[in-house]
């Protein structure tokens, strides 16, 4: 089957934690889950946990987990599953061997690269962003939305977002703004309308869910209930802890990993107890506190160590990882964005994160910039090349050719060179012209080229449309939700 997405299958592996260190963090996690517990502010979730052997305190909404239960429940999670696209050529096999990039999500502004100003995002922006992501093969699935619809009723924003996304991309959609049971049921209904019914949706899950946890050691009620709806329908879901070292997590990275692991693992255990075998994943966007402001750093070396270590932990349990990647704190697509994005992508890929969220936003996931998204796909492409490793065979060693050319010759005319030169990586936006050419052509750098590519996509690319009747059905579902959820 042809494919229109371009995952990375890394041959390089980067272990930040030794096996004994993984074991130690795992043991500490179990100790915290058993002794301190995790807060689940949802009666439904607490009931599931209590019925399966957790010690539950309804007053504090805290569940304590027997260690055997954690291990047994985590083992039920499937090691492999498909996140389907509406277009089968965009299907993602989550198998621990491939890394898939998404866009970043939940931004609230759009950067207008024509006038250098930002403005609040609208439903139309969510739609445009979905069409844009649909055009980029290096972005495998749509996460978010990239920017939220702020010109619609707040209670049904996630559903308007979904309508904009479903009608503009045929790639897989992972929602991160659908919270609460009722909105979750509406979005599942929308996905089922596209898939041809709930059974078909279960067979080809074009939708998945991700929710944030509440650090330290807690979850949010509506988030829990939304993911339980996903699990009920066989849709993959996961929880994303974001402990800030020295704030909502210990200042030391190992301790931060314990907190994060306990949160992510407790979510997985809940889902597996409620619906054994349901597809699920760990998620994470760990960071450290900015010692100057007390806030989020939007990129630091510790983030990447935590990302790589968290991914190792997820894989220790045999569970896929969706890792916060790129998502620079920079305000514009310049030097700071380059270092954030380059190093974070490197760390995520070298640790084999299954899903990576993602490209396109500046200023700590707040501002959408299309040229920036194009530049980030170039970074992805570089990492893909490096992660592919070096093939060592008789053909690639080419001893005969080396002997033939000798020390003073050139390889340019060799048949061996012609056979392999196309394997050499080529840039889309990097400039490699000599200085004088670059000067003569107006000093056009990466941003200039990325802007040209972005403008071309925005102007000319059209995604595969949904059938008219499905579009009408989605509209009707969102209309109904607007009425039924108004004021809820």
């Amino acid at each position: 089957m042809t494919t229109r997405i371009n995952p990375i299958a890394p041959r390089l592996k980067w272990d930040v934690l030794a096996p004994s260190e993984l074991e130690r963090i795992h043991e500490a996690t179990l100790e915290i889950m058993e002794d301190v517990g995790i807060r689940f502010p949802s009666d439904k979730a607490l009931t599931v946990l209590e019925q399966n052997g957790c010690v539950v305190d309804r007053a504090t909404q805290v569940a304590k987990f027997p260690r055997a239960l954690v291990i047994e429940a985590a083992a039920r999670a499937p090691r492999e599953y498909v996140l389907a696209g509406r277009d089968p050529a965009a299907d993602m096999l989550i198998d621990g061997k491939h890394c898939y990039l998404s866009n970043d999500g939940s931004g609230v502004f759009v950067f207008d690269h024509k006038n250098g100003e930002k403005r609040p995002s609208t439903k139309n922006d969510a739609a445009t962003s979905a069409r844009f992501v649909d055009a980029l093969p290096n972005i495998s699935y749509y996460w978010g939305p990239v920017v939220t619809s702020q010109d619609v009723p707040p209670t049904t924003k996630a559903l308007h977002d979904a309508e904009a996304v479903f009608t503009n991309t045929s790639k897989h959609f992972q929602t991160v703004t659908t919270v609460g049971e009722r909105p979750a049921r509406y979005i599942v209904e929308m996905a089922a309308a596209i898939a041809g019914g709930l059974d078909k949706l279960r067979e080809r899950p074009i939708l998945s869910f991700m929710q944030c946890a509440v650090d330290p050691l807690g979850h949010d009620g509506p988030n829990l209930e939304a993911n339980l709806v996903a699990a009920e329908h066989g849709l993959a879901s996961g929880f994303m802890p974001m402990p800030l070292a020295a704030g909502t997590g210990p200042a030391t990275l190992a301790g931060n990993l314990v907190v994060q692991n306990a949160e992510a693992l407790s979510g997985v255990v809940l889902l597996q107890l409620a619906f054994p075998g349901t597809p699920c994943f760990f998620a994470g966007a760990p960071s450290v506190i900015d010692l100057k402001t007390g806030g989020y750093t939007g990129g630091s070396p510790e983030d990447y160590l935590l990302a790589a270590a968290s991914t190792q932990l997820a894989h220790f349990y045999g569970i896929p990882m969706a890792m916060g990647t790129m998502a620079t704190g920079a305000k514009e697509p310049g030097w700071q964005a380059a270092i954030d994005d380059s190093l974070s992508t490197f760390a995520s890929v070298m640790s084999s994160a299954d899903m990576m969220n993602g490209a396109g936003l500046l200023n700590g996931s707040k501002i959408l910039s299309y040229p920036h998204m194009v530049m980030e796909t170039e970074i992805y492409s570089i990492v893909q090349k490096v992660a592919g490793g070096i093939e060592v065979t008789d053909e690639t060693l080419a001893l005969d050719v080396i002997r033939k050319v000798g020390p003073n010759g050139t390889y340019l005319a060799e048949k061996h060179t012609r056979a392999h030169m196309k394997e050499i990586w080529r840039p889309n936006v990097w400039d490699r012209t000599p200085y004088d050419t670059w000067l003569r052509e107006g000093k056009k750098g990466a941003l200039h080229k990325a802007t040209e590519i972005a403008d071309d996509i925005l102007e000319n690319y059209r995604s595969d449309p949904l059938p008219e009747d499905v579009v009408s059905e989605l509209r009707a579902i969102v209309d109904r939700a607007d009425k039924e959820l108004a004021g809820v």
Partner: protein, 440 residues
Amino acid sequence: MPVSPIITSPTRLALKILGDDDLRRVHAAALALLGADGAAAEKSARLAPDTVVLGGRVFEHHTVLGARHCWLGTGGPAPRVRPREGGDPRPATAADLDEACRLADALPEVAVLCGPPVRAAGETLPADLARCFAATSKHVQLTTLQSVEEARTVLRMAIAVAGSEVELRGRPPVSLCAAADALGAASVFARAGLPVGVVAAPNGRAAGAGDQVDLATALVRHHAGVLAACAAIQATAPGAAFFYVADPALAGLAAGSPEAAMFQIAATQLAAVVGLPVSVAGMTTGSHEPDWQACTQNAFAALSTMAAGADLTAGAGTLGGGSVFSAQQLVMDAEIYSWNARIVAGVMVDEETIALEAIRQVGIGGNFLGQRHTRKHMKDIWRPRLLDRSMWDAWVASGRQGAYDKASALVDEHLAEHEVLPLGDQVTEKLACIVAEAGL
């Protein structure tokens, strides 16, 4: 006067691009390429010291290759300089060389001044080196020295700086990193106790730049070239300090390309096979400005090589594939190094860092800020010098300052305030005499 110690970091990560079998295969192919000399070349590399000291004028400025630490070196010598105030690059002057060396001396991340960073127009290499010695107490690694005559002159200068021939061996202030053309000069250095790293093609000629070949092919040729050079050096100076040079340009790979990064990771692994410390070119961006492209190229190269365990990552401060020096670029590359040094230091896992008691005390929904454990460890958290973490409106109000603006301010601050440990009048005069006598 007190000097700031160099910032370095232990390397706890071990990024590998070649599996054990592939590594053995490339090594064996390189030995096969050397033919009858292969076994002897391998033996000589294994007998060479596994650590190499690149001496500074003071203990705090010593660099030790082969000790599982990563160090940063500048690029150079660049014939042109990008003016600090902006604008197009122009030919470098002696004043530019002074400024570049003084800035490198001031930056605690920079361990070695490779090149020297700038080649002043109309000056000889010994004259440039004398200025460089005066403007830094850190180690200087020459990369363009070729003739035996020049090498002898430089050796006399190095003895003058070190104090004596014996002290020179203990803390060699200068070393040589070069291609096959400099094998004679390298022998002069090696016999005197100055560290060298040389790449020769299997029969002693340089590998051809500009060739586009398979990475495996490039590695075989390059590895054979290093082993051949090492054998030649060890034959003339047994036990000489020799380091493995992994410069993608010498293997015909495009500067700053993904292939260049991959080559350097693999070469670092190959160096470990024969137990040699390794110096990589690292930061060799082809970009003409200190921008997004320069950062992506150098960030990848630095992280991959440092994570692979390379001892010295050089190239900092240059643009256009090493042809232009930029003070701002040097500061920005130092930040990239600092960032990566924290990454390759890895995650410590022990009772203290797991912090179970602190987690229990804070409990659910609490905050770690007030914890004694946090106060004890928060200074371990890496802090940037160039990143902007302000709110959008504050950033706009500040004139949208980015990393380049902050780097410019740091350059100005360092050059206004930094004092270099003086060489002393006697040494300065001696160096002037040697340069004048050489008349090269």
